[in-house]
């Protein structure tokens, strides 16, 4: 039983349960499937029955150009060396995805994290709205691409003001030629004359 036949077996399982939009083999041991939002639960159920019984991680990716969020479910099998990523795109406006707690109860905390960082709602998860990591967040969810952490940091945390410019440039040795010369000399010293 090698990994190629494992990948084919995964193909069979997924094609028999739902429609695959795009398949992307990542390596010999990893494969990603992009599926419809409505097929995710069925595919996860059948994969769990076939032995992929651990949910390694539930992540989310922001695609502002397409106006979509992408949810990534990563599954681990303890018997066969294949990681499976199930990807599903959901709308960026009022994002919502039914919870997978009935299939993988451990997804509770991943869903809370995704809600906190991306603002995705998970109906079916009883306390996805509770804060998990950040306390009293007061802006749009911070891992969205349109969130500007620098502006937030400047607004919220006072930054230190330096009255003097401590990094005074050396005007004479600033030219590119001299910099290259200095670097060359340093390399020569380091390597003992070899180029």
């Amino acid at each position: 039983m090698n990994s190629i036949s494992n990948l084919e077996a995964v193909d069979n399982i997924i094609n028999s349960t739902g429609k695959v939009i795009k398949k992307e083999p990542i390596s010999d041991f990893q494969v990603a499937y992009e599926v419809n939002k409505s097929d995710v639960h069925q595919i996860l159920t059948s994969l769990k029955l076939e032995g992929w019984k651990q949910l390694s991680y539930l992540s989310a990716v922001d695609w502002p150009e397409e106006n979509k969020f992408e949810l990534v479910y990563i599954l681990l099998n303890w018997d066969k060396p294949v990681y499976i990523q199930i990807r599903a795109k959901i709308d960026r406006e009022n994002p919502s995805m039914n919870s997978i707690i009935p299939i993988f109860p451990g997804a509770k905390y991943y869903e809370r994290e995704a809600h906190e960082f991306f603002g995705i709602a998970f109906p079916g998860n009883p306390d996805y709205k509770k804060q998990l990591i950040m306390e009293q967040w007061d802006d749009i969810p911070p891992l969205r691409k349109d969130f500007d952490p620098r502006a937030y940091s400047d607004r919220k945390y006072p930054s230190r003001e330096y009255p003097d410019n401590f990094s005074k440039k050396d005007k004479e040795n600033e030219s590119l030629e001299k910099q290259a010369k200095r670097r060359k000399r340093a390399r020569k010293l380091r390597t003992g004359g070899e180029e």
Partner: protein, 192 residues
């Protein structure tokens, strides 16, 4: 030549006697500094070499302590996120006075490489008073020990009086803390 003229014997008033006792106490305090290592960030990795046989912190009379009540120095090692800052302030207020704060690394000074990060604060001394900074990303054990020796000098010269500042400007510090942390309402399952 000693003058034979009668001079009135110098009398110490109460403040001067207090000051003398305080100086005696300062000798003991600066020679036995116990650390509370609040390992918030990556600079904590510099503490094992400065404690063990290579640099041996114990020859200066310093050592790690288990709880905030017993410790003298609150050692902030590295960046502070908002969530950590709240616990840091709780810890600082539990320590018995006189208490000192040493901040390692460039993150507590001006944010360091996290200066534009959303959960990491930029300046520690807005929220609690800091007695000694040790700059560097990360500072090597020599500079860590140098920072402690600086703190000892500060205690000797009465410049390390951050805890007095905290009492004096308590309202200002509290206002800054509330601005950044919000009210003390924590709504998650670990606090219900």
């Amino acid at each position: 030549m000693i003058s034979t003229k009668y001079t009135e014997k110098k009398k110490f008033n109460k403040q001067e006697i207090d000051r003398k006792w305080w100086e005696v106490g300062d000798y003991f305090r600066r020679n036995s500094l116990w650390l509370l290592m609040y390992c918030t960030g990556c600079c904590a990795i510099e503490l094992p070499p400065s404690m063990t046989s290579a640099y041996d912190m114990e020859r200066l009379g310093m050592g790690p302590m288990a709880t905030p009540r017993q410790a003298d120095i609150l050692l902030v090692s590295g960046y502070l996120s908002l969530k950590t800052l709240r616990r840091l302030i709780y810890t600082y207020e539990q320590m018995s006075e006189p208490r000192y704060v040493v901040a390692l690394g460039s993150c507590p000074i001006n944010g360091g490489i996290y200066h534009d990060s959303h959960p990491v604060i930029n300046q520690l001394d807005q929220y609690i008073p800091v007695d000694t900074y040790v700059a560097g990303c990360m500072p090597n054990p020599e500079s860590v020990l140098n920072g402690f020796v600086d703190l000892m000098e500060g205690i000797k010269n009465k410049t390390a009086n951050g805890w007095k500042k905290y009492h004096k400007n308590y309202d200002w510090y509290k206002k800054n803390q509330f601005d950044v942390l919000g009210e003390v309402v924590i709504d998650d399952e670990f606090h219900q």
